[in-house]
């Protein structure tokens, strides 16, 4: 179960899109997982053959739990016991790809130590297995020296219960959450992430007034030559400008983890999307600086549509390296964002508005937008933040640079 955001502790397996024996390729969508925010399509990042599905549909498991065993190309399918090893969620395991290579759980089934010795089962686990009617030979051990311990039996019993429930025709597996349930869950996870952000991240805030005359004029000319569905919205220009600036100012693009800043190479801009019925998500558009404006426009349209129909992909949920929030439609002048941990910056845009300005010694009426930066003072300082905002401003004065 991959972590699809810092606020995710567990997920419910909604649907398997592969079955044992299927070949999978890198990037293939293999399952759908229900999180508090959306039904997310889970991508697999290894090639191979599906060996065994370890988590049945409908079960809710911790982040870090193995969902399926994957056989490396050429590896033979071996008869494996049904109850699989689970890896307890830890921060490092949380970001592991969805399917563990089969060798890892298989090793957990075979007890370490002298070959051919009796399986090690703790006395307490053996007694518990008897009372819960769990076949102890089918339980893999996570205790000392690979022994089967109480918690292994409890885990196995829980899976048996799920399987039994799923097999009963009268009881349906856990149904999809209703909109109201989802709204409650989403409120909870937003509360958790934002509380953590304000508790842990020392935010600082900067604003810059950006004159949009050049950008809008350039865009109007560009759009005039195209049909309506090929036109690009100003929001895409803003996204691209932020993406390119973030590439130049590495300390705003990445994650604060384990008491240190980890810059990332790609710039994946999370786009704040408010959902009908309340709540929001901020899935990523990948590699923003490398994409042409038309591609970005397509990506944005697609992303908004899928976010609102609750079908995002795992990489979109977990990858954003910086976030852009745009509340211009709601008519506010400026937005001071709350950073989504473990990211270190969020850029906000307010409503583009006409203002009287003094430009080149003359009085003019121009369209401006308030750009804001909320950044993590652990990772960057105000001086660099100011330069970062200035870079966004400068890019928007030369829209040709944004086309690429």
């Amino acid at each position: 179960m991959p972590s699809l955001g810092s606020d995710m502790d567990e997920g419910t397996l909604n649907e398997w899109l592969v079955k044992p024996g299927d070949n999978v390729t890198r990037g293939q969508i293999v399952a759908v997982v229900e999180t508090t925010k959306a039904a997310v399509e889970i991508e697999c990042w290894q090639e191979g053959t599906v060996g065994e599905l370890l988590v049945p549909v409908g079960e809710t498991v911790q982040v870090g739990t193995a969902l399926a065993a994957l056989l490396a190309p050429g590896e033979r399918t071996e008869k494996r016991r049904r109850v699989a090893a689970r890896s307890r969620s830890s921060t490092s395991a949380a970001t592991e790809p969805v399917a563990a290579p089969s060798s890892a759980p298989a090793a957990a089934v075979t007890p370490r130590g002298a070959p051919g010795r009796r399986r090690w089962v703790s006395p307490a686990a053996r007694r518990l297995a008897q009372s819960l009617h769990v076949d102890i030979d089918a339980v893999s051990g996570t205790g000392p020296q690979g022994s089967v311990i109480i918690s292994d039996v409890e885990h196995a019993a829980a899976i048996l219960e799920h399987v039994a429930a799923a097999e009963k025709p009268t009881t349906k597996p856990k149904s999809k959450p209703t909109a109201a349930e989802r709204a409650v869950q989403m409120r909870k996870s937003i509360a958790a992430a934002m509380s953590r952000s304000k508790r842990e991240i020392p935010h600082y805030y900067l604003t810059d007034e950006i004159v949009l005359e050049n950008a809008l004029a350039w865009l109007t000319t560009r759009n005039a030559q195209r049909s309506i569905d090929e036109r690009v919205l100003p929001a895409v220009l803003l996204l691209k400008a932020v993406g390119i600036a973030a590439q130049r100012f590495a300390e705003f693009n990445g994650f604060w983890r384990d008491d240190g800043f980890q810059p990332t190479t790609g710039v994946h801009v999370g786009v704040g999307i408010s959902l009908r019925g309340g709540g929001l998500v901020a899935p990523a558009i990948h590699d923003v600086p490398d994409k042409k404006l038309d591609e970005l426009m397509d990506d944005l349209t697609d992303l908004v549509a899928r976010a609102r129909s609750f079908s995002l992909r795992s990489s979109e949920m977990s990858d954003p390296t910086i976030t852009v929030t745009n509340l211009g439609d709601q008519g506010v002048d400026a937005v001071f964002g709350v950073i989504y941990p473990p990211q270190v910056a969020i850029v906000g845009f307010g409503r583009p508005a006409q203002r009287v300005c003094i430009i080149d010694g003359g009085i003019r009426i121009v369209t401006i937008v308030q750009a804001t930066l909320a950044a993590d003072h652990r990772a960057s300082d105000g001086h660099r933040g100011a330069l970062f905002l200035a870079a966004i401003n400068e890019l928007l004065q030369q829209p040709d640079l944004l086309e690429k």
């Binding site: 703790s122 307490a124 051990g141 996570t142 000392p144 022994s147 311990i149």
Partner: protein, 325 residues
Amino acid sequence: MKTTYRTAVHDALRDALRDDARVVLMGEDVGRYGGTYAASKGLLEEFGPERVRDTPLSELGFVGIGIGAALNGLRPIVEVMTVNFSLLALDQIVNTAAALRHMSGGQFSVPLVVRMATGAGRQLAAQHSHSLEPWYAHIPGIKVVAPATVEDAYGMLGPALADPDPVVIFEHVQLYNTSTDIEALGPTDISRAAVRRGGNDVTVVAYGGSLWKALDAANELLLAGIDCEVIDLRVLRPLDDDTILESVRKTHRLVVIDEAWRSGSLAAEVTARVVEGAFYDLDAPVARVCSAEVPMPYAKHLEQAALPQVPKIVAAVQNLFGDRQ
């Protein structure tokens, strides 16, 4: 107010001498010198040579005198400088004091209290540093206690004197300078072990000088997400099985800390009782942390390396948690 373990032992002796005219204190250097560990400073001046008596260097002799005095109606407290020296009095304690009630069909009892220092850590080498209390805990007919706290250092002496049979008290040498904030000292029982720290994941049993190492280890382990229950044995004979078994039935894991050598130790006895009484509740093998099986070295680094230490306890506990770590 901070009270040291040494003061608590001293005050217990003084109060016992004051409250009961039958109480006498004797041993090597307990009078004029004030006790090897200064536990009886000033008592000779306060109570006189009839009640506080320096004895010749003969453990066999003065422990025997204590037994005779007890048989004849006194309540003697005999101090033996260290447990190593007490071997010279083993015949008196094991063959006489422990056996008389049983050999006389209940006609004689020996209400004797023997105090002695035990344990290592002061670079006193192999003739002054051993933890031989498991040998005494082997003997029926005597009670063996090991106060680890300031409260018990004071509180155990009264009940020990009130006991109609011999009681041997082991004071770990490293504890005399420890201190605790205490309002008032009073008698404590000499029948039960004490849970010094509640926890759910593993039972850590210790006594005497090792208790504090166990508690330090428990604090460290909490950071690793392991919640230890720490039990202070307090009474080494008869062992309080109920407290230990109840705890292991809850935590399913046991680590025993014992400064004595592992072979034939109290750690071995506690382990055996848990396996006998709570086998089906165990979720991991029992682990022990004991001293290296060598006569205690003099060199400081070797002595420290030979003793149970906090990192060894932490490692032993973590080892019981398999993949969770």
